[in-house]
Symmetry: C2
Subunit: 351 residues, 2 copies
């Protein structure tokens, strides 16, 4: 065991505050990491507030972790002290089911072990995340950060990035495809960058006229105001692929109507019942596809980092001092961030 510092919530209403806790004693396949940066994902807020009723307190959030290797176990082959590395949303899985064998550990039949609020598969303890000075993670769930990437701006690639990259790749989005990106937050703005890098013609769907300028700045070729029925009607049957990053309930039907025959709408943010109801006819009459996608597997998480280095893609971030995390949460709830807060972990050490 090694003592670690971090920020944790102790209950639904406490907010995040400094904590000291134990990191596990490294196992032979473990990489010990000193954390430099940690992105702040909306999921963190859900866990801190226990919105999904599954939070185990104290919870140390954070699953967009960038740091440097300080030590490696005897079985570790691919990392050495000093490497700049990343840890995303998961830190373990069964490693032997079909999904794991295919490098799709996020779909592990036994369930992936989440980076925080997960149950360690060996000792049953609850995992703690990246709002901390250090973390110990099995080699398989650690990725290399290419030198070319700014490490702070790379942090959100480990969740917001891979979550949008994976479905674009899985469904083979390619040059010339017409892609719609619904929502322009941390996920949406990454989706635009990836779709553009893949050669697609990209339209951002946003509810607000005020975001048009920003959408264009992000690289969108077109913007559709989704609250404007005439604009939505004009967009009917014209898209090959829709990347839906909206994390709250919304009407899918007007977006499905924007898809061509055989078009695909992928949900990456919505985890609740679909309301208003999905109209089955919107799928049947044009052979459309509605699908879901969850982050990405470890090989693809490495791939997206390499893709970002190759295509000079990074997340737009606002640096955050650890002690301001609760204020940041309040701003995020109002959508007041472009587009991701990243905690500078030096500010934890200074606490």
């Amino acid at each position: 065991m090694a003592s670690a510092k971090g920020y944790a919530a102790q209950n639904e209403t406490s907010g995040l505050a400094p904590i000291s806790f134990d990191r596990r004693t490294p196992r032979p396949d473990d990489v010990s990491i000193e954390i430099d940066y940690c992105g702040v994902c909306h999921t963190d807020i859900h866990f801190v507030q226990n919105d999904w009723g599954v939070t185990e307190y104290p919870v140390v959030p954070g699953h967009e972790i960038i740091g440097r290797v300080t030590a490696v176990g005897s079985d570790v082959k691919n990392f050495k002290e000093g490497d700049v590395v990343g840890v995303g949303c998961m830190v373990d899985s069964c490693r032997s089911c079909k999904a794991c064998e295919a490098g799709l550990e996020q779909y592990c039949i036994e369930g992936m072990t989440a980076t925080y609020n997960g149950e360690d598969r060996h000792d049953g303890t609850i995992t703690f995340g990246g709002y901390s000075d250090k973390v110990v993670v099995s080699e398989r769930f650690v990725v290399k950060v290419p030198e070319k990437l700014d490490p702070a701006a790379a942090a959100p690639i480990l969740c917001a990035g891979i979550t949008t990259y994976s479905p674009l790749r899985h469904y083979g989005v390619k040059a010339g495809d017409k892609v719609g990106v619904i929502g322009m937050g941390g996920l949406g703005h990454m989706g635009v960058k990836f779709a553009k890098a893949l050669g697609a013609e990209v339209t951002i769907f946003t509810r607000s006229e005020s975001k048009v300028g920003e959408a264009k700045k992000q690289g969108a070729d077109h913007v559709v105001i989704s609250t404007d029925e005439s604009q939505m009607e004009a967009a009917a049957e014209s898209f090959d692929f829709m990347l839906d990053t909206v994390p709250v309930q919304h009407d899918l039907n007007p977006y499905l109507n924007c898809l061509k025959v055989d078009g695909t709408h992928v949900i990456v943010g919505l985890l609740e019942p679909v309301d208003p109801a999905l109209e089955a006819g919107n799928l049947v009459f044009k052979r459309r596809v509605l699908a879901g996608s969850l982050i990405g597997g470890m090989p693809e998480t490495q791939e997206v980092l390499d893709f970002c280095a190759e295509h000079d893609i990074s997340c737009d971030i606002e640096m955050l001092d650890m002690k301001n995390i609760n204020t940041a949460y309040e701003r995020m709830k109002k959508g007041d961030v472009k587009y991701r807060f990243v905690i500078d972990m030096k500010t934890l050490k200074d606490d």
Copy 2:
């Protein structure tokens, strides 16, 4: 114009009764057909009753038509007098959009012209279907019936058959795949035959214990009683593909839960809002696909007839005298038919 005999409903409550009406004067690309058999589809009942609020009376239903060519227009290349032919759910489309060019006329951007209750693209008249002694149809929308097939039992292939065959092929169902077929009516029993012919391991999902014997007789390898929670739980995450033929609202979530990672659930019967609500998490957490499919295009409609001939597949039918059509509808509403009524059109001539 040529006078035709048939059975039509005159309003929502009249039931079907004999009618004389005009068939169009054949155009150069038209095939004139004397009808021998016409399958009775549940859609016919919806139109007769105006369940969807779009019926134009009088309506002559019927879109599973088998007959013999009596004459061909000067531009007709592929048919000659005496050929045994079929006409399915559509008789025209724009023929120039991407879907039409791909042989997916059912997804025509201007909308396909339905075999009955459709609007003729040339003269604006309302189309009349196959409960009749003759029909005149453009060559492109006529298919050849292989000699090996029993013409009466082939009729339902033109709707119930192609509707289930098309998604199985589109999603590449193959030997060894685990396929679930939900519902065991006209569509479901054809789906089982096709999936078996493609080499899949087939499970029928039915609500009733009483159908187990019949399901096995149809060739199903396994039967799951969908109302039995323990059976549904045992089936979790084990299917590659689900063919959902249920034409009324039902809970999709327990079936989605039966799909493996990357599994696909295709709706072919449900055209209404999905209720109870679709749980988005059921798609996201396993990268599952929910899709729709509508009949099949003309090349594939020919393909399914040839496939049936090759694999010795036909629909299980009960022959029907034209005058008993209203009684047949009542029996269909109670699910009392194995599995498709087919009208022997000689009995119309005898009327």
